[in-house]
């Protein structure tokens, strides 16, 4: 497939080389495409701090959060877009634009031709209408759009593809760790392995429902002795996270079986070790972009109890690769089922690992991108290469 893209330049455009999920994906994907012989390149647009504050607001609004967006914000976005349109070099045969920040570059499509694809990495299932309508006026000028989950798509006059994100099985967060490393991390955080461990790994964010996780754990504890680890970090751009952490600590009280761990950024090996040491992984989110922590857990063949939100139902096929829940009592019930039926839990975990192997590893992601680029020249539903 890669050979069929020979001679074409894939120009990836986003707003930053470092930090954030998009930069992380591109930093892995661009070299891998290169190794397959595809000429993939990566450029970033320019923008002032004010511009990025506006796009952050757009980001939150598209996620469905309440944001005050003024006419001045839209103006600033358009001004910066115009500047980039004038200064930015567009040389690709396929111009692959990631997320809303550079979306406006597409106005040069009429002049340049080429194939244009907009890659949406965020959950736009319930967006702020004003921002979505503003953004949509650019999106519909593309040849195709790509979303991470079916629920993120909208009725658009252009082709829309589903390409889920993926995990890298060789990264620190997902590679197999020696038992000594796992023991060392548990030792560091003072977690004994005397009873089953239930773990949720996520930021201290209301959307991850950490208090709900503790409530479900306390319901389980009435009949089964076990531990809870809530491991996560706080984000500097999220003023709420400290507040959430304080609430979680208060809710946990002095229960010695609840371990609230504030993990510093970049501690991938530690996250890996905590997941590997766990009996069950929970992801009781109220909302998720995609929820790749579920894939990380399933790749370690761990039984998972997760909420049916965002991209989680793609990863957890209920009763086949994990259990889906819709509330605190449902989560507690699923946890009890798994703790009391380790063979069933093991079967779900093994199925989950296979599910990730075939559907959520970076190799599948890479193949989907190749198919996407090839499909741009083939409008039909059946493409013969």
């Amino acid at each position: 497939m890669a050979a069929r893209l020979s001679g074409k330049v894939i120009q990836n455009i986003n707003s930053t080389f470092v930090g954030g999920g998009v930069a992380e994906i591109l930093s892995r994907m661009v070299p891998l495409l290169g190794q397959l012989g595809v000429d993939a390149r990566w450029n970033v647009i320019k923008g002032s701090d004010e511009f990025f504050q506006v796009t952050k607001k757009f980001h939150n609004a598209l996620h469905g959060r309440q944001e005050r967006i003024s006419a001045k914000d839209f103006e600033l976005f358009l001004e910066t877009t115009q500047k980039n349109i004038e200064e930015f070099e567009l040389y690709g045969d396929i111009i692959f634009v990631h997320d809303p920040q550079p979306a406006g570059l597409v106005v040069r499509k009429k002049e340049l031709g080429k194939k244009w694809v907009w890659r949406c990495h965020i959950d736009v299932s319930h967006p702020n209408e004003e921002v979505w309508n503003f953004l949509q006026s650019f999106v519909i000028q593309y040849d195709a759009a790509v979303f991470s989950a079916p629920g993120f798509s909208h009725e658009l006059p252009i082709r829309q593809f589903l390409i889920s994100p993926s995990i890298d099985p060789l990264s620190d967060k997902n590679k197999e760790l020696p038992q000594e490393t796992i023991d060392a991390v548990l030792g560091k955080y003072g977690i004994p392995r005397d009873k089953p461990i239930i773990t949720q790994v996520s930021r201290f964010d209301y959307l991850k429902d950490p208090v709900g996780v503790i409530q479900a754990f306390e319901m389980v504890r009435k009949s089964i002795d076990c531990r809870l680890i809530f491991a996560g970090g706080t984000a500097t751009d999220d003023p709420e996270s400290d507040k959430v952490l304080a609430e979680v600590r208060e809710k946990a009280g002095n229960n010695p079986d609840i371990h609230i761990l504030l993990i510093p950024p970049g501690s991938d090996i530690e996250i890996n070790a905590l997941q590997s040491a766990s009996t069950i992984i929970v992801q009781k989110s109220l909302g998720e972009g995609f929820g790749l922590t579920v894939s990380e857990a399933l790749w370690k063949a761990k039984p998972v109890v997760a909420s049916a939100v965002g991209g989680i139902p793609l990863q957890v096929k209920n009763k086949f690769t994990g259990l889906l829940s819709h509330g605190v009592p449902g989560t507690a019930y699923a946890l009890r089922q798994l703790l009391n039926n380790p063979e069933y839990a093991g079967w779900l975990g093994e199925n989950g690992r296979e599910h990730i192997r075939y559907n959520f590893l970076i190799t599948r992601h890479l193949r989907d991108y190749l198919l996407l680029f090839l499909s741009l020249d083939h409008p039909g539903d059946v493409i013969r290469l």
């Binding site: 629920g151 589903l162 539903d381």
Partner: protein, 457 residues
């Protein structure tokens, strides 16, 4: 002169008589030997006997003439030096005649037998030349020995040359001998289907003096040194099976999911959208789980059944949609009608007007199939079974599921080829009767291989 003849007639007559006597004896002996040889030929029916009889007839008489000349010289009144020289000349002529006969005979026998062991023309020429050189060298050495020339240095030189040659050909020699052995024993012949210890397999296309050429599934050729073929375990399945009119070219398939942007939050919307979406949407939601969850037994149901059960909580309808036998439908339109019919029948009973929670809507998608060639090609059932072991699950999926419903061929590709191109109607129909939806893809692969291997046996 007359006086000299009168005085020495006895000295002349005795050698002449001796020579003539030998000639007569020679003729008589040749006749006796011819008859004895004739009887032996009739008894053994050896095809080489004719060659020996023809080749030796004239030299045999020459040898008696040489014997006569030798006796005549020895009984003559010639001086001893002349007798000695005469003996050496006659000895040399005998060696040359004998050598010539051995060369002729060995050449004819090699040309008779090497083709029977499938030796190629270059191999025969090489063998004939080797024999010629050996006999000429031995003959020259014997003649030199007769004339009293020291042969030891020449022998040493020959040994050195032979050692150098052996050293240069140390890699080729085992293959050469193995080639002779393969030909002589007929363990592996051109046209046999063989499987090597390393896993490669295919038909033997050629056995040369040093290598064996095996044509494998992707139509490339593996060249195996003959010696390796003898040293390793090789399974020889024997001769080719019936060749297909047209070879089967395996393709593979992968897909990209295209979103339609359409969604349903209740059964009414599900039925309405189902009626208007393209066939490819129906195909996607009733098939994609086969690939996505091919490792699971039992596999999850079609997407409609899963959504109705999990998101709407309607287990009765979920069961109804799960039990739709996709295999029973000749095309996607008929399948769509059945699905819509089940949902509408359920609605008509007033059973379920619930709406799902926000975020749990059914999102309609379709598959964009990308069909790719693979290197695997089968010309007969044996190659076909072997290719089935090697192809990807995507390839198996394409030829079994996609070709039947999505490409509207009515039958899977394998059955079509086996029936039409191989003429194996019974096997083709047996495969067509398999319900692939009740197998995992790996289970389906094993079942197909078993059916084909049973037929081969």
């Amino acid at each position: 002169m007359i006086q000299w003849l009168t005085d020495n007639w006895l000295k002349i007559a005795i050698p002449v008589l001796a020579f003539l006597a030998c000639f007569v004896v020679g003729l008589w002996v040749r006749r006796v030997v011819d008859k004895a040889f004739e009887r032996w030929r009739a008894r053994t029916k050896w095809e080489g006997s004719q060659l020996i009889a023809k080749a030796t007839r004239r030299p045999f008489l020459h040898w008696f003439l040489l014997l006569g000349a030798f006796i005549a010289i020895q009984v003559s009144a010639l001086p001893p030096e002349s007798k000695s020289i005469g003996a050496k000349v006659i000895g040399s002529l005998f060696v040359l005649s004998l050598g010539w006969l051995v060369i002729i005979l060995s050449e004819q026998l090699l040309k008779l037998y090497l083709p029977k062991v499938k030796a190629t023309q270059p191999t025969i020429t090489l063998a004939v030349n080797v024999i010629r050189v050996i006999i000429v060298v031995v003959g020259v050495l014997m003649v030199l020995q007769i004339w009293g020339v020291p042969t030891s240095p020449i022998l040493i030189l020959i040994v050195v040359v032979l050692l150098a040659a052996a050293l240069a050909l140390r890699d080729a020699a085992p293959n050469l001998f193995a080639g002779f052995q393969l030909g002589a024993t007929q363990q592996i012949k051109v046209g046999d289907y063989v499987k090597l210890e390393t896993g490669e397999e295919g038909y033997v296309a050629d056995i040369s003096w040093n290598n064996t050429h095996i044509r494998v599934l992707d139509e490339s050729t593996i060249i195996v040194p003959n010696s390796r073929l003898l040293q390793r375990t090789v399974i020889n399945y024997g001769h080719p099976l019936k060749n297909a009119k047209e070879p089967f070219h395996f393709h593979s398939r992968t897909h990209l999911t295209e979103l339609t942007g359409l969604k349903a939050k209740n059964l009414r919307e599900l039925a309405d959208v189902l009626k208007k979406v393209p066939d490819t949407v129906i195909y996607h939601h009733t098939h994609h789980f086969l690939e996505q969850h091919h490792y699971l037994t039992p596999e999850p149901s079609n997407d409609f059944a899963v959504w109705v059960t999990d998101a709407l909580g309607d287990e009765a309808l979920g069961e109804g949609l799960t039990s739709v036998d996709t295999f029973a439908f000749p095309n996607l339109e008929a399948l769509r009608e059945r699905l819509v019919g089940i949902v509408e029948e359920h609605l008509s009973k007033g059973s379920n007007f619930r709406e799902v929670m926000p975020g749990r809507e059914f999102h309609f998608a379709k598959s964009v199939s990308v069909i790719l060639p693979t290197p695997y090609v089968a010309h007969d059932l044996r190659e076909f079974a072997e290719a089935l072991r090697k192809i990807s699950l995507g390839s198996l999926y394409f030829h079994i599921f996609e070709s039947r419903l999505r490409l509207s061929r009515g039958l899977n590709d394998f059955s079509i080829w086996i029936k039409d191109s191989l003429g194996e109607t019974e096997l083709g129909e047996e495969i067509a009767r398999l319900d692939p939806y009740t197998y995992t893809l790996e289970g389906l692969r094993s079942t197909l291989i078993q059916l084909i291997e049973k037929r081969i046996k």
